[in-house]
């Protein structure tokens, strides 16, 4: 393992991400933040939902922002880099190629974590300080954030190495949009009690565990899945996705 090479590649990705920060930020975060505004201000002030909805909503918005940012930050560049072969110079750098895949995931994790952290102050601006979330369990919170960020970036790498450029639009409308809607981000999983089949089906959606986990640590008073269960499922999902992503990456890059 060649740490100098790894660090140089991270700094390359940071350099490129900084250059594209604003458009990337708007592309990913605008929609969830608008959602925060509509549900956290408009609907509450007009009395259509209660103020308690804020605490329910905010962890879900964080989960969406993290998954979308991490997945996009890894998948989009990799699809282009594989297409134009511009990734070649990094494949030829003196480091085993699998570490390039890990480097991509680490870069994606950092962006995913930043996106998650940006949601909080933005939400305070849009919903007022009294959002009802608490940081009473910092270690749980940190562990969940890392697991979710890794889920996002490993998922992004797996998608980026499986989908061609012509299918990006389809990926967003067919995979990511239903994932967000059925990801228990805007409502707790227990809200699906009256839809028993749907409630089982959504369990394949990793966003469910991200939303429910963050809800459990940030707003424990809201109904949520047990944190230990969520954490274990996220660990398993992360490992499976990493294995799958590394395999896809290898097949895409070595002839």
């Amino acid at each position: 393992m060649n740490w100098k090479t790894f660090a140089a590649m991270l700094s390359r990705d940071a350099h490129v991400a900084r250059r594209n920060a604003l458009p990337l930020f708007l592309q990913i975060l605008l929609q969830p933040l608008l959602f925060v505004f509509i549900f956290g201000q408009v609907m509450i002030r007009s009395g259509m939902v209660t103020a308690a909805y804020k605490a329910m909503l905010l962890p879900g918005i964080m989960a969406i922002a993290m998954l979308m940012t991490g997945a996009t930050a890894v998948s989009m560049p990799i699809i282009m880099e594989l297409l134009t072969k511009e990734i070649e110079d990094r494949l030829l750098a003196p480091m085993e190629t699998k570490w390039l895949a890990f480097e991509k995931m680490v870069a994606g994790m950092v962006q995913s974590l930043i996106a998650g952290m940006v949601v909080l102050p933005s939400a305070w601006l849009l919903m007022g300080r009294n959002t009802g979330v608490s940081f009473a369990h910092p270690f749980e919170f940190a562990a969940l954030m890392l697991l979710i960020a890794l889920l996002a970036s490993a998922g992004g790498l797996a998608m980026g190495c499986s989908v061609g450029q012509s299918h990006i639009g389809l990926l967003f409308s067919m995979v990511l949009a239903p994932m967000i809607m059925f990801g228990c981000a805007y409502y707790p999983w227990s809200a699906l009690n009256s839809f028993p089949i749907l409630q089982k089906v959504v369990l394949v959606n990793p966003l469910v565990y991200a939303s429910e986990g963050l809800r459990g640590t940030l707003a424990p008073h809201v109904p949520h899945m047990p944190i230990l269960l969520v954490t274990s499922i996220l660990v398993v999902a992360d490992l499976l996705l990493i294995t799958f992503a590394l395999n896809r990456f290898h097949r895409k890059t070595i002839g």
């Binding site: 100098k4 003196p94 890059t253 070595i254």
Partner: protein, 340 residues
């Protein structure tokens, strides 16, 4: 100490269309099938069929062949980008596939199609590339400046490369491959798409690099380039080395040396017999109404050919004379032109 390259019985069979690693035009569809069946379902292409080569330390070695001959696959295997089906490849004392990281430290690679990092400027591309190889930041800046100057890219050094012309991208790709001062430089079709002036600049740069004691392996389907640059050439076709030697050795090994391609209104058997008997003609190959004559002289034979044809009632309709060249050599061995 210059470093050599060695391969032993390299084979590469693709069972599915290759990913990004291999380029070359042979992958439009299965051409050759091992089992000979024409079911069209099983994809199997033999790109390399037992290639053994030895490139001496410090020489410029050329792989010459038409598109799809296996040149890029050979380079891909030697540069850790394509896994061989069987056989071995060494860069110096390092077995490429067992010691990939060590191998990558020794080599610089210019691929057939420019693959520059489109998110970066020209200068950043060079500096980041050097950073991947652990070169200190002071040295990176200095080398990038020198190479940008050398490759006449200083004016555009701080622009994102997306807007660069093909020639500029190619020059930058070569500069990038030299950034970490590799012992062995691979150039896959380096002058494709370059204007003549840039091609000469490139040739100078390649020769200068060799003078520093580096080993250079280049692929080309341009005989002129192989002839001008390479100390030794391997001619490769359908995944096999069909000839190896210095350009002069190869050129003079063809019977006669001169090639006269002539076309007649018709080719009765008598014409062929008479052509074979002409003075200086060593070989005649007939294809339909045209004939390839290998001979030790060129234009001086034409009157005799006209006479031979008219004696048999055929009329000469076209003559093309080429002097001893690698093109003729290739044609002689494969019956095809390099450009086909």
């Amino acid at each position: 100490m210059p470093i050599g390259i060695r391969t032993r019985d390299l084979r590469k069979v693709y069972t599915s269309p290759p990913p990004m690693a291999a380029t070359g035009s042979m992958f439009r569809g299965p051409k050759k099938k091992k089992d000979g069946k024409k079911d069209g379902k099983k994809f199997e292409v033999t790109a390399l069929d037992g290639v053994s080569l030895e490139v001496h330390p410090g020489e410029i070695f050329g792989l010459l062949g038409p598109n799809g001959a296996g040149k890029s696959t050979t380079v891909g295997i030697l540069t850790t980008r394509i896994r061989p089906t069987s056989g071995e490849a060494w860069i110096g004392n390092h077995e490429v596939w067992r010691e990939q990281v060590e191998t990558k430290k020794l080599i610089g690679v210019v691929q057939q199609k420019p693959n520059l990092d489109f998110a970066l400027t020209a200068r950043e591309i060079l500096e980041f590339h050097a950073a991947y190889f652990g070169i200190s930041s002071k040295e990176r800046v200095q080398r990038a400046t020198e190479l940008l100057e050398r490759f006449q890219l200083t004016d555009r050094a701080d622009e994102i490369v997306r807007g660069f012309s093909g020639g500029m991208m190619q020059r930058l790709s070569i500069a990038r491959a030299m950034m970490h001062d590799p012992q062995v430089l691979f150039l896959d079709e380096p002058s494709t798409g370059l204007d003549p002036q840039t091609r000469l600049l490139l040739w100078d740069i390649i020769r200068d690099y060799q003078r520093l004691g580096k080993t250079i392996l280049l692929t080309t389907h341009n005989m002129e380039e192989a002839d001008a640059l390479c100390q030794r050439i391997a001619i490769i076709d359908h995944g096999k080395v069909i000839a190896l030697g210095t350009p002069t050795e190869l050129k003079t090994s063809i019977p006669g040396g001169y090639l006269l391609r002539v076309r007649f209104s018709a080719t009765p058997d008598g014409v062929v017999r008479r052509l074979k008997e002409l003075p200086g003609v060593s070989e005649v190959k007939i294809q339909g109404t045209s004939a390839d004559l290998y001979a030790d002289r060129g234009g001086a034979l034409v009157p005799a050919i006209v006479a031979a044809a008219s004696a048999e009632g055929a009329e000469l309709s076209d003559v093309h004379i080429s002097e001893p060249s690698l093109e003729n050599f290739f044609l002689h061995h494969t019956g095809r032109s390099l450009r086909q």
